[in-house]
C-alpha cells in the first residue's frame, strides 16, 4: 500500500458501495423524479422541427471520453440516444456535430443503435454525425454558421461546454432562435430553451 492512501481507498470503496446499494435499491422502488423542463422541451422542439421540415442539431459536449469531463460527455451521449429515438419516431432530420476525435465513432454508434432499437435502421444516415474540427473556437464558428444557414429548427446542447458556448448561443439573438442548452458544468446549470 502506498503511504498515506489508506483514507483515499476507504473513501473510494465507501462511495462505490453506497452507489451500488442505491442502484440495487432503485430497481424495486419507484422514485418520483421531478420532471426537468429541458427534457420535455426536447420532444416539443423535435415536433416543431418535423413540422417545419428542418434539422434538429445536437452537440454532446466538446470534451472526450477518457478525462475528468468524461462523466458529462456520457450524460450527453445518453440524451443523444433519447433525442435520436425521438427524431426517428417523428421522422425528422438529425445533425450531430462533434469536436472530439474519440467521441465521433461512439456518437455515431449511439445514433445507429437508437434508430435500430425502434426498427428504423434504413432511415439512418451516416452523415448525420459529423466531425467539424478539434480546435475549440473553429468548432464554435462552424456551428454558428450551420445555425445561421436557417436549416436548423432546434439546437440541443447537452454536455461539457466552455467559453465557445456563449458564442454559439449568441447567434440566438442575431437570428431570433432559441437553444435548449443544458450544461452540466461546475458553474450553475445555465439553461436556455432554444429553437429557431
Amino acid at each position: 500500500m502506498k503511504p498515506g492512501l489508506a483514507v483515499d481507498l476507504f473513501v473510494l470503496v465507501a462511495v462505490s458501495f453506497i452507489t451500488i446499494y442505491f442502484i440495487a435499491k432503485s430497481h424495486d422502488k419507484k422514485y418520483y423524479l421531478r420532471n426537468i423542463a429541458g427534457l420535455e422541451a426536447i420532444e416539443e422542439a423535435v415536433g416543431r422541427a418535423t413540422e417545419m421540415d428542418k434539422i434538429v442539431h445536437f452537440i454532446p459536449g466538446i470534451t472526450g471520453l477518457n478525462n475528468s469531463r468524461s462523466a458529462v460527455t456520457f450524460s450527453g451521449l445518453e440524451v443523444l440516444n433519447y433525442v435520436s429515438r425521438t427524431v426517428a419516431n417523428y421522422g425528422a432530420k438529425l445533425l450531430v456535430t462533434i469536436r472530439n476525435v474519440m467521441v465521433l465513432p461512439v456518437a455515431q454508434e449511439v445514433v445507429r443503435n437508437a434508430y435500430s432499437s425502434i426498427g428504423k435502421i434504413n432511415s439512418f444516415d451516416y452523415n448525420s454525425v459529423q466531425f467539424l474540427t478539434d480546435n475549440q473556437f473553429a468548432y464554435a464558428t462552424a456551428v454558428r454558421s450551420i445555425l445561421q444557414e436557417g436549416q436548423v429548427a432546434a439546437n440541443i446542447m447537452v454536455g461539457s461546454f466552455f467559453a465557445e458556448s456563449l458564442m454559439i448561443t449568441e447567434s440566438r439573438t442575431s437570428c431570433r432562435g432559441d437553444s435548449d442548452r443544458w450544461n452540466y458544468q461546475r458553474n450553475p446549470a445555465s439553461f436556455f430553451y432554444y429553437y429557431l
Binding site: D8, L65, S68, S70, A138, T141, A142
Partner: protein, 198 residues
C-alpha cells in the same frame, strides 16, 4: 511587414462578423477552420515518430498491440464491422476511469476535506468548514415524498446559497477581467503593430 498585414486582414475579417455576416467573414471563418484543423493534425502526426516508430527501433514490439487496437477504429467505415470498435473504446474508457477515479478521490475529495478539518482552529477555518458543508448540502436534491425538506436542510441550503452567490460574483468579475483582456489584446495589435498609432 506582409505578415502583419495578413494578420490584420484576418483580424478584421473575423471582427466584421460583429457588424454583419459578410463573405469576408465566411472566408476568414473557413481559413480558421482549415488552418486550425491542419495545425493540430500536423502536430499530432509528428508525434507518430517518437511515440510509435522509436519504440519499434528500440525493439519494444509490444507497441504493435495499441497500434492494432487503434486500427480497429477504422472498422467504422465497413458496414457490419462496427462492433470491432468496442475494443479500443473500452480500453480507452477503462484507462480513463482507472486514472480519474483514483485521482478524483485523493486530490479532489480527501485532500480538500482533510484541509477543511485541519484548518478548523482559526475563525476563517470555521467559516470555510460551515461553507463547505452547506454548499454540499445545497446539492442534495432528493426530498421525502411530502416535498418539504427538514428544517436543518432548509437552513443549510440558505447559507449554501449565499456562499455560492458570493463565489459566482467572484467568478463573474474574473470572467469580465479575462474577456476584457482578450479584447484589449486585439485592439492593441490593430492600433499598435498594424497602424502603429500607439
Amino acid at each position: 511587414m506582409a505578415g502583419t498585414w495578413i494578420a490584420a486582414i484576418c483580424t478584421l475579417g473575423l471582427m466584421s462578423f460583429v457588424i454583419k455576416d459578410s463573405p469576408l467573414y465566411r472566408l476568414a471563418e473557413y481559413t480558421f477552420l482549415a488552418v486550425g484543423t491542419a495545425y493540430s493534425f500536423v502536430l499530432s502526426l509528428e508525434r507518430l515518430n517518437p511515440v510509435i516508430i522509436t519504440p519499434i527501433k528500440q525493439g519494444k514490439y509490444t507497441i504493435f498491440i495499441p497500434v492494432a487496437l487503434g486500427l480497429l477504429l477504422y472498422s467504422r467505415f465497413f458496414r457490419g464491422k462496427q462492433w470491432l470498435m468496442g475494443f479500443p473504446i473500452s480500453v480507452t474508457i477503462g484507462v480513463g476511469l482507472g486514472l480519474s477515479l483514483k485521482g478524483i478521490v485523493s486530490s479532489e475529495i480527501v485532500k480538500q476535506l482533510s484541509d477543511t478539518y485541519t484548518s478548523i482552529g482559526s475563525l476563517e477555518g470555521v467559516l470555510i468548514f460551515v461553507g463547505v458543508i452547506c454548499v454540499i448540502l445545497f446539492f442534495y436534491f432528493s426530498r421525502s415524498n411530502t416535498g418539504a425538506n427538514p428544517p436543518v436542510l432548509a437552513v443549510a441550503r440558505k447559507i449554501g446559497r449565499v456562499f455560492l452567490m458570493i463565489a459566482f460574483g467572484c467568478m463573474f468579475s474574473n470572467v469580465i477581467l479575462s474577456r476584457m483582456t482578450l479584447l484589449l489584446g486585439r485592439i492593441k495589435f490593430l492600433l499598435g503593430d498594424w497602424l502603429n498609432i500607439i
